[in-house]
């Protein structure tokens, strides 16, 4: 410790000398004095885009003149590397975010639980259980969500027509989808635009199949790590996932590309009939409508495999990013004010207008909602939600799901072996150990 301090002082002295010698350098972040407004440091990956966050800052600061927001934006894919060191060293931002579900629960030690205030703060939200332990609002909640997220199947009406299909009646069952894919493939286009790399398979595709085999209790068991991947229900899910590619529905390079941007680009280019992507943020009705024309864009639920399954016709919905106050923050009051504001009506409206997202706040002015027919259809689809199976997976499980699917697609792995690998990944998940 002593040696480190000495070397540090020496090195710092050297730097200081150097900087002044260079004739400049600049002040290294001026510490704001004790007087004046409180400065809140907010760590964010800017879901919804930088324009939306600019609006948040302006609008919030206008309403709260005693608080200044200092946004620390980090690219989404670098977020864990920046946030991790803050959490282990218990230092850094006053407010930060994680995705609802296991990602948030794994980091709950970094957030100040809202306690009894949770219900009050979140009272106008359609749902906020994803911010609470085990999706249970009676347990500790760690923050505030304001967007709603989930997967739907977008389709290109022109491609369907060119393949001789009814563009107003997209395939609703697995069999119909199979037949449609045959027709589309014959017409020279890709049926389902797909990228199997990264975490997209786990969060976007898996829950849509899983709804046909799992009950809500099963999904909770998935979160707790108490259901085996060799369970017939989960093996069925994997089998159906495998069919998507082994039946030739997807583009050939699916195993080596990510859904974003590459998979979605195939669809945006008009080279594919279907793409399973999200309802909020990006690559949604808004972007696709711009690329293909609103009149050519259709939206439907992923095809149903088991019509009798209790969740088959529901929407696997999940809150988006959850913003919470950090445990080490010395400005918890101000932080609480900010996240409370995030849950409010004003932010819900900014989110719709500038973030192109699905708001959770019930009081958002309906006249602000987009008029796109695809958006309207999505409002119907999400009306009957259920738990989202994807966000229950741990990092190793999400990873093994993607890798196994790639190998199954390339013929290097059988579904049974894939299930074995999933089980190993579950047993290897450090954060699910306590769930047993």
């Amino acid at each position: 410790m002593n040696r480190r301090r000495i070397t540090g002082v020496l090195a710092a002295g050297l730097t200081a000398a150097l900087l002044s010698a260079c004739g400049g350098g600049g002040d290294a972040g001026s510490p704001s004095g004790a007087t004046g407004p409180v400065t809140l440091k907010v760590l964010t990956w800017e879901p919804g885009g930088s324009e939306y966050w600019k609006q948040v800052k302006t609008a919030f600061e206008a309403e709260h003149t005693d608080i200044k927001l200092e946004m620390q934006a980090v690219p989404f894919d670098k977020y864990p590397e920046v946030q991790g060191p803050y959490i282990t060293s218990q230092s850094g931002p006053d407010v930060m975010a994680n995705n609802a579900g296991l990602e948030l629960f794994d980091r709950r030690g970094a957030y100040e639980p809202l306690g009894a205030k949770a219900a009050e703060i979140n009272k106008d939200l359609v749902t906020y259980s994803g911010a609470c332990e085990g999706f249970d609002t009676s347990k500790p909640c760690y923050g505030v969500p304001f967007s709603y997220q989930g997967n739907v199947l977008y389709y290109n009406k022109q491609v369907l027509k060119a393949a001789g299909l009814d563009a107003e009646k997209p395939p609703a069952t697995w069999e119909e989808f199979s037949a449609a894919c045959e027709a589309v493939t014959k017409s020279g286009k890709t049926c389902l635009a797909l990228g199997q790399s990264g975490t997209f398979p786990a969060y976007w595709d898996f829950p849509e199949i899983a709804r046909n085999y799992l009950s809500e209790d099963d999904i909770r068991a998935l979160l707790a790590g108490t259901i085996s991947w060799k369970d017939p229900k989960l093996v069925s899910v994997l089998t159906k996932l495998a069919e998507i590619t082994t039946k030739g529905w997807a583009n050939k390079n699916a195993p080596s590309i990510t859904m974003l941007p590459d998979g979605a680009d195939i669809f945006q280019r008009g080279d594919a009939a279907f793409a399973g992507t999200i309802i909020s943020d990006a690559v949604n009705w808004e972007a696709f409508g711009k690329a293909l024309g609103d009149e050519n864009l259709g939206v439907t639920r992923w095809p149903v495999i088991n019509a009798d399954a209790p969740l088959a016709n529901k929407f696997s919905g999940i809150e988006g990013a959850v913003y919470g106050v950090t445990k080490w923050s010395e400005k918890k009051e101000a932080g609480l004010k900010f996240i409370t504001w995030l849950a409010g009506k004003k932010n819900g409206e900014l989110w719709v207008q500038h973030g192109k997202g699905q708001p959770l706040n019930k009081n958002v002015d309906k006249s602000l909602l987009p008029s796109s027919p695809a958006f309207q259809k999505i409002q119907e689809l999400i009306a009957d939600p259920t738990l989202h199976a994807g966000v229950m997976l741990s990092g190793p499980e999400a990873d093994a799901l993607a890798r196994g699917w790639q190998q199954v697609t390339l013929g290097q792995l059988t579904v049974d072996k894939w299930a074995d690998q999933m089980q190993r990944a579950l047993e290897r998940s450090p954060t699910k150990k306590q769930g047993k």
Binding site: A11, A12, G29, Q72, P75, E81, Q268, A291
Partner: protein, 277 residues
Amino acid sequence: MNRRTAARIGRYLLSFALVVVAVAAIYPLLFTVISSLKSQTGFAHDPLGLPTAITFENYLEAFRRLDMPRLLMNSLVTTAGGLIISVLAALLAAYAVTKLRIPGGKLVFLLVIITLTIPGQAIIYPLYQTVLDLGMSGEYQGLILVYAAFGLPLGTYQLAGYFQQIPDELIEAARVDGAGHFTILFRLLTPIATPAIAALAIFNFVWMWNDLILPLVIMGGSDSKTLMVGVSLLTGQYDLSVPLVSAGLIIALLPVLIIYLVFQRQLVAGALAGSGK
């Protein structure tokens, strides 16, 4: 076919091979420039072809979204600081080890060089903790010193190798003339080593300028972003506008090219001086 014709054909073939490599080297840059002139939908429809309509909107947007003067200053201060300190520290260490031949010099040399093989991903947590312990997180000096430490081993090796070949007599003659060690190092050896220093400068400048993870982890806050961090933020969580990012990266590339052109002259001059021509 006589030998001379054969030789000429050989030369043409060689030139052709060099041309192929050159095309491979330059094509992706052209691709980026072309991408940066397309609109987002234009790119999605035809990522590879020439743009149907040229737009400078991406550049304007990049300038709108990035606080250029601030980002540029942050990048320049940290990169230049890291560069200068690593070269200075390397010069001193190389001189002490190769010319003063201090006892334990070999050990010092080994200690410095072995740090070259420490994988960066493995030490992000402890590195941040260390920077934090020193009270340097979010401060310029934190990033500058870390850059300096990361640039140090190769610089030390290169300069030590260079000094090694300079005869001791040169130094002893200067000593007899009454020159101190610092005079010898900075007035005599450094000019001779100009090419090596220029090479180091280019190599280090480029990676420090383009680095993402160290500035993100160490600098944190919004005001101390480097230019490359700013550019990387042009991508959203899910949407990646290749044209916009391309425009941002072309902007970020310009200072690198300028530095390259500046140091290139030093390289020529130094090499000539060094080889006594």
